[in-house]
């Protein structure tokens, strides 16, 4: 007996019945209020916590034919599961922000001309709030989806303990900017160097994904992420962890690489590093945009949602208000 299946909770969006058979065995999702102007929402799934094979099957039914085909092409059960959960996370998350008026399976996606996935706003019938922006990232042990309204967002997550196969400085020499290589080389202790490498990596990835121009549109070596110590007078309410700010420098002659982006770096669930990058609002005074507002939920869609903000599961490393 599926404990979450309550027939009285079944939605019947009548305006859509004529186009699709929408009656599903899955109950409604709780709606979520839209992020405010300077806010990002982050939803994450821990694949290991899904053990119910029939739930996974129900999740699979939410995918588009194209997505289902892609899952079929993947070899290995764990990878297939991640692929399904990745699409389910995007679809269910977006559905929440439509007051659950739009069934998760009905979203259509397209890629911008550089390959960044975005919601395709459809004409006639479906209600989708203006400009829901999203970005996904996944590791084998966590899948995350960041959402904003109007503001381009990029996220990247990595396991804290991830150890690149290759030598870190070789990787940095090949891909990072000279300043970043020097910064990394200044760490003698291998663990610290690894930790700093991952911080730089996730932040750079988040920026490139936020920009939406693909890896070749924003080569890693053409911009620098650096950590600036906060020399501002100490405000008692501010958490101690905010000892540095994340800055980005781009070459002045680069028209594609803009610098009006703000960053946050958090530790999620004790196991993962998450970098979030959002475009700054040029109409807002600079001081108000020093810190990003972030709300985080852990979810197993249709089963359980837990707000993790203000808990130990979300530790601010830098950039959060």
């Amino acid at each position: 007996m599926r404990r979450w299946l309550r027939w009285d909770m079944l939605p019947l969006p009548f305006n859509l019945v004529s186009r699709h058979l929408v009656v599903s065995s899955l109950p409604s999702l709780p709606p979520a209020p839209l992020p405010s102007r300077r806010e990002a929402h982050l939803w994450y799934i821990v694949p290991n916590e899904l053990e119910d094979a029939s739930l996974l099957q129900d999740y699979r039914e939410l995918l588009s034919p194209c997505e289902k085909e892609n899952v079929l092409s993947i070899k290995g059960e764990a990878l297939k599961k991640c692929a399904i959960l990745s699409r389910v996370l995007v679809r269910t998350t977006l559905s929440r922000y439509t007051d659950c008026k739009v069934n998760p399976r009905l979203f259509k996606f397209r890629k911008n001309r550089f390959g960044k996935p975005e919601v395709e706003h459809q004409n006639g019938g479906l209600w989708v709030p203006p400009s829901l922006q999203f970005n996904i990232s996944h590791t084998s042990s966590m899948i995350a989806c960041g959402v904003t309204v109007d503001v381009p967002i990029g996220i990247d997550i990595e396991e804290k303990r991830r150890k690149p196969v290759n030598n870190l400085l070789s990787l940095a020499h090949r891909y990072f900017s000279p300043y970043e290589v020097q910064y990394l080389a200044s760490f003698m202790d291998p663990e610290s160097r690894q930790s700093e490498f991952l911080r730089l990596w996730t932040l750079k990835e988040a920026y490139v994904k936020a920009l939406g121009r693909g890896f070749s549109g924003a080569p890693f070596r053409d911009f620098t992420i650096r950590f600036k110590k906060s020399t501002d007078s100490v405000v008692p309410e501010r958490p101690k962890s905010e000892e540095f700010r994340i800055m980005i420098d781009t070459a002045s002659d680069s028209e594609n690489l803009t610098a009006n982006w703000q960053f946050a770096l958090v530790e999620l669930s004790g196991s993962h590093l998450a970098a979030i990058c959002m475009e700054k609002d040029e109409n807002m005074p600079g001081t108000e945009q020093e810190f990003l507002k972030l709300k985080v939920w852990k979810t197993l869609p249709f089963v359980e949602d837990k707000c993790m903000s203000e808990t130990d599961a979300v530790i601010n490393i830098s950039g959060l208000s």
Binding site: S73, I74, K75, G76, L79, C82, H138, T139, S140, E158, R162, P164, V165, N166, S170, L171, R174, Y175, W201, E205, G214, F215, S216, P219
Partner: protein, 129 residues
């Protein structure tokens, strides 16, 4: 080269006024030994190259020896994320002594595509030398 002969017969009012012989060569390859470098770029990579790519990918993604990888295997379907991909590209550059720019590395999605690009770059490097 295949040769084809055509005969044009010019007629005016049903009376033949002239005959022209034209020989046309086609550029279709009939003989395998007649390969020019222009055609090599479009041929699939050698099996040795493909196998080396497979070895590097297996090592990077820590796949077991009995995992079967084919030229059609997609990196994303193997669970490779962006960090894996750049590590793979860097290993391939070191193994084959080539340089892959960002435009090219973004277009590599399968083992075959990686092997084809490697051979193209190796050839370009040899021709430039």
């Amino acid at each position: 080269m295949m040769h084809v002969s055509l005969i044009y017969v010019m007629q005016t009012n049903g009376v033949t006024s002239g005959v022209k012989f034209v020989t046309i060569g086609t550029s279709k390859l009939s003989f395998p030994s007649l390969r020019s470098s222009r055609f090599r770029v479009h041929c699939a990579a050698k099996p040795e190259t493909v196998n080396k790519v497979i070895d590097i990918v297996k090592k990077q993604l820590a796949l077991s020896d009995d995992t079967s990888l084919t030229p059609e295997s997609k990196f994303s379907s193997l669970g490779a994320d962006s960090l894996d991909t750049v590590e793979i590209v860097m290993c391939l550059e070191e193994e084959f002594d080539i340089s892959v720019d960002e435009d090219n590395s973004q277009n590599i999605t399968t083992v075959q595509e990686a092997a084809d690009l490697i051979e193209k770059l190796v050839l370009q490097k040899a021709e430039a030398a």
